[in-house]
């Protein structure tokens, strides 16, 4: 019954399901209409298959509470009629992760993705577009060291047609221009790089093309690029000193009208790095968008959310999934659609030989260094979730010990792969949790008041009732203290009962604090060195239960 519900969504007949309840079932898709959109996003430099545990806690506030994408674990299984223990349960949730990971194996990897993309392209020749929502050029040692070049090369090999950015900008505007071009010239990237909401501050001139028009299956498809709107406040300003971003809802509407009325486009797609809650709001306020292909918040959304006539898709992260959206476009309208968030299960998809060769070429010079085994973990280590993950705890332990500090800060990034109990932690794994272009650690005195204020500020970037004001990732990870949070309260009142080593945080007292990835200047050693040194020295990781955060949800509005 539960399987049938999923199969119906994918256009599979019950008979086909009986015949193929193995890996083939996972990828089965009965084609529909004249256009196939393939979307991947937030791969974070993940060249090879990985374990990535989906979050156990993602809280929505107000009307969002308890609805997708603010659903995790059992609630998600119930909402989408997914059987516990199934491969979908493994792909979409954190439940029983170590056991299911052992059963179903790693996910993603560009060689496996390439096989899947090539298969679909062959099946849907001339009808397929491949779109990447960005956060591709960050998250691994090789993409850090090649300043993004490795990921552009694999994206070209994958055949990415359209791209919109976020983390790409941490390589600096000039590097982005070299790799992706701008309005005047092309870069290394073979597809179209689009971002309507990136312009020169003061003048307002767009740096990149705002959209591209591609004809597939006899349909003129207009794709508007929506870069991450809050890039300048999310990373050190020095990477994009003269650029201004923003959601620019009016700008989207103007472009939609231009594409429809002047360019005679049949289908309008927003390739977005807004984050899902922002996309849902935007889709309700801009008229004429047929499809939003979104990323940033890493939501593995099993089915699109329909807002008016707009289908809003989100495709997870780390290459775990490839979204396939088949559309029947008739007389400038979507007459029908079929969707599947295809799990890229490495064991169900052979590696594409050309891509494998390219990945090996990229990795060969670094393989020995990255393969260094630093420690063994007896604990499941992961980052993703609204509050401290276990890998964050390890990073914080390393920082606190090195600085001999009382309080540690680690950013609430959504990227970072998962280590299973018994698995070795390699240097490469450390980079998958730390590879940023501003890795320096810092140590300084902070008052209790300042600490509280930072926590409130970050919490507001996550739990502001209006998604347009949510600039942040997950909650900043804290070491050395415990706290309670009520996400439903307003800024300044969400965080309470902060305790440092069991004693109430005193607003006027000074505490020795440490952290990394500062937006200002920091001159301590890069965080990967601190964490690697720590792991080498301890040799084994075993974390006890750490009741770090108490979540309280009141009804106060």
């Amino acid at each position: 019954m539960k399987l049938l519900a999923i199969a119906a969504g994918a256009g599979l007949t019950p008979r086909a399901l009986e015949a193929a309840d193995g890996p083939a079932r996972l990828l089965a898709f009965e084609p529909l209409g004249n256009v196939t959109l393939l979307h991947l996003t937030d791969t974070h430099g993940t060249l090879r298959p990985v374990f990535y545990r989906e979050p156990d806690t993602v809280l929505g506030v107000g009307a969002e509470r308890g609805k997708a994408p603010f659903l995790t674990g059992e609630a998600l299984l119930r909402a989408y009629h997914v059987a516990p223990g199934s491969v979908e349960a493994y792909a979409y949730t954190h439940l029983d992760f170590p056991a299911l990971a052992a059963r179903y194996g790693r996910m993603g990897g560009y060689a496996h993705l390439a096989t899947l993309v090539k298969r679909i392209r062959a099946e849907r020749a001339g009808r397929t577009l491949v779109l990447d929502g960005g956060d591709t050029l960050q998250g691994s040692a090789t993409t850090l060291w090649s300043r993004g070049e490795d990921m552009v090369r694999v994206s070209n090999e994958l055949g990415v047609d359209v791209f919109t950015p976020h983390w790409e900008f941490v390589h600096g505007l000039e590097r982005v221009r070299e790799l992706f071009g701008d309005r005047e010239r092309r870069g290394l990237f073979a597809g179209d790089f689009i971002a309507h909401n990136v312009s020169v501050a003061g003048w307002g001139d767009r740096v990149f093309n705002p959209y591209t028009i591609r004809e597939v299956g006899g349909v003129r498809v207009g794709v508007i690029g929506q870069a991450f709107p809050y890039t300048p406040v999310s990373h050190p300003r020095r990477f994009v000193p003269d650029l201004t971003f923003g959601i620019r809802e009016d700008g989207v509407q103007t472009l939609v009208d231009e594409l429809r009325d002047d360019k005679h486009v049949d289908l309008i797609v927003l390739l977005s790095h807004n984050g899902l809650a922002v996309d849902l709001k935007l889709a309700g306020r801009v008229h004429g968008l047929d499809v939003v292909l979104g990323g940033h918040t890493h939501d593995a959304l099993p089915q699109p959310i329909q807002v008016g006539r707009t289908l809003v898709v989100n495709s997870g992260s780390h290459g775990k999934f490839l979204s396939r959206l088949d559309l029947d476009v008739q007389r400038k309208r979507v007459a029908g659609h079929r969707y599947r968030l295809l799990p890229v299960l490495a064991q169900a998809l052979p590696e594409d030989p050309a891509m494998t060769e390219l990945i090996e070429e990229i990795r060969r010079p670094h393989q020995a260094a990255l393969g260094e085994r630093l420690a063994v973990s007896e604990t499941l280590l992961y980052r993703r979730g609204n509050f401290n993950g276990t890998f964050d705890e390890v990073i914080l332990d390393a920082l606190l010990r090195r600085a001999d500090a009382q309080i540690g800060f680690s950013p609430g990034f959504r990227w970072g792969t998962t280590i299973l109990p018994g698995q070795e932690i390699t240097l490469e794994d450390v980079y998958t949790h730390t590879a940023v272009t501003y890795p320096n650690t810092w140590v300084r005195q902070m008052t209790g008041g300042e600490i509280h204020q930072v926590m409130e500020d970050v919490a507001d970037n996550l739990f502001h009732p209006d998604p347009y004001y949510r600039q942040g990732g997950d909650m900043v990870r804290l070491g050395g203290l415990t706290y309670a949070i009520d996400p439903t309260r307003r800024v300044g009142r969400r965080i309470f009962d902060i305790r440092v080593a069991g004693r109430a945080l005193e607003p006027g007292r000074h505490y020795k604090a440490t952290g990394w990835a500062s937006l200002g200047e920091a001159d301590g050693p890069p965080v990967w060195d601190v964490v690697a040194e720590y792991l080498r020295s301890v040799g084994k990781i075993k974390l006890g239960t750490r009741p770090r955060v108490r979540v309280v949800a009141s009804k106060e509005s």
Partner: protein
């Protein structure tokens, strides 16, 4: 409570002149209403500022007519671009006389007042303002018949940092 803060315009003008500060176009001395200037350098709340500017006059919701364009999250609190445009006739009998911009949480909430004449042709102003912390930014429009209209929007000034 605020009686001792209130200073008549004449007192202020005298003070300004004594300090050698020319009264420039910003606050023109022929404003018809009973405005009370604040003492120099003195901080006030936005409520006090509004009372001083508009007394007890009703301020209507201006959301259909006024377009306040300001970032939702400031990219740099020290330079926040704001523009206000008003859908209004600009004729000698009916026009927008003033556009005020207020930042609720700034120590001195009145950021600017722009005086317009029908000859301007359209009711528009733009400026870069400074915001010390997260709070509402208001645009208040005074029409030639004395009607006051207001829109406001929260602008967040964050320490930043990311996820993604």
């Amino acid at each position: 409570m605020m009686g001792n803060r209130r200073v008549s315009r004449r007192t202020v003008l005298r003070t300004l002149s004594a300090l050698g500060v020319a009264v420039a176009s910003g606050f023109d001395p022929v404003t018809p209403q009973t405005a009370h200037a604040q003492a120099l350098g003195q901080n006030e709340t936005v409520e006090d500022a509004m009372k001083r500017l508009f007394g007890s006059k009703t301020i209507k919701d201006g959301s259909p007519a006024i377009k306040l364009d300001v970032p939702l999250i400031a990219e740099n609190g020290a330079v926040v671009p704001v523009s206000v445009s008003v859908d209004s006739p600009m004729t000698s009998t009916s026009y927008v006389r003033h556009i005020y911009v207020l930042a609720d949480k700034n120590r001195i909430p009145i950021v600017t007042r722009v005086t317009l004449a029908p000859e301007a042709g359209r009711a528009f102003m733009g400026a870069n303002i400074r915001l010390g912390e997260t709070g509402d930014v208001r645009a208040i429009v005074e029409q030639s018949d004395g009607t006051l209209l207001q829109v406001k929007r929260e602008v967040k000034v964050t320490v930043g940092g990311c996820g993604g």
